[in-house]
Subunit: 216 residues, 2 copies
């Protein structure tokens, strides 16, 4: 069920970004239409996890696996919500001209989609190395986000006519960054699951504390 | 432990907003300083929940309570992160003049803080009626958010000098809205806990689907 959910979420992210970049209204509506299925699976996964806990009384590794599944389930559903946000921005941006600051968005999106894929693969394969590589990717997303924010602010200041579009694009970047945060959460849960260590709120491969959600 | 965590989170939200509105740098730094304690409790709650599941093999109502606690724990920690985001915006806004669009922010903040308090009280007292009133509050937050967004967009278009401050204020509003979303999630978990019904992704007292995170 989590694999089905993650493939739906990955597809939603991909379609929402493509809808922004290629101004494709159909793809944006696909994302809105598929949200219900993601929400449905979230409930089913939780119910199934609770019934496993109740009926099987799992111990040790199985117990950690089920608790991780509940958390990852929640992260996946939130990612689906964020893809919906991006799809809504795509619809709002349909009639706006293509502008230079949009060039960053496919770069950030590719980075974030890579993090999501690695986080999910690391869960499926219980691969600690791969999970750790997701944590490292978060800094690169932050750098690109900051560059993109500065560019969009300047673009707004150049001409008030750019403001509405820029606010939408800021939102797309912010939602991508939050998707990356959820991928990081999943990777942290995988490390907890595989190695029994809790890397949340600790620097492991990166400096500083756990990334907070998009700070702007 | 969850009560300690929720009082820390409520305090963080209150201080971060007061820091924005009263331009109080010390309060903003208090929020940044207390984040570590919130993160610490989050880990402790999860570990305790897992040890309860492993050692006590709880059934039925106790099992649902523990699973709810794991989810609410996660929501509280995210609320703490969002208060940190607001505190960072407060610091960025310190040297900006007080502007008219800021008038909305204390209104939205008061509404959101009320939702957070009710959601936590409904959990402590297992009060389904109170939980339901939180779901109803979400629409009012959305309305205020939309009004505030429109005002801030116009304010930016009036004068490019207003843009940077307005982007920070948009961020404060968006983070408040996301805090309200987490309060809604907690209320949904309480209804699930108390009545055994799953209201996620269903309209109960309100129309439309589950609120997605801030859509811009």
């Amino acid at each position: 069920m989590l694999l089905e959910m993650s493939s739906l979420v990955e597809s939603a992210i991909y379609r929402s970004i493509t809808a922004v970049v290629q101004k494709d209204e159909n793809l944006a509506h696909d994302v809105l239409r598929n949200e219900g299925r993601i929400n449905q699976i979230e409930i089913e996964v939780d119910e199934f996890a609770i019934s496993l806990l109740a009926l099987q009384q799992p111990m040790a590794a199985d117990l950690r696996f089920i608790v991780s599944a509940i958390k990852i389930n929640n992260d996946l559903e939130r990612m689906g919500d964020l893809a919906v946000n991006i799809a809504n921005r795509a619809i709002s941006l349909l009639n706006e001209p293509i502008v230079k600051p949009m060039v960053d968005i496919p770069h950030i999106a590719a980075l974030v989609q890579g993090m999501v894929r690695k986080a999910l693969d690391s869960f499926v394969n219980r691969d600690a190395e791969l999970a750790r590589s997701v944590l490292a990717g978060d800094d690169a997303v932050d750098d690109l986000r900051n560059a993109s924010f500065h560019e969009l602010l300047s673009f707004m200041e150049q001409d008030p006519a750019n403001i509405r579009q820029s606010v939408d694009l800021l939102s797309v970047v912010r939602n991508l960054e939050r998707i990356a945060d959820h991928a990081t959460n999943i990777a942290e849960d995988v490390l907890f699951l595989v190695k029994g260590i809790d890397v949340r709120h600790h620097a492991e491969t990166r400096e500083g504390s756990r990334p907070v959600d998009a700070s702007r």
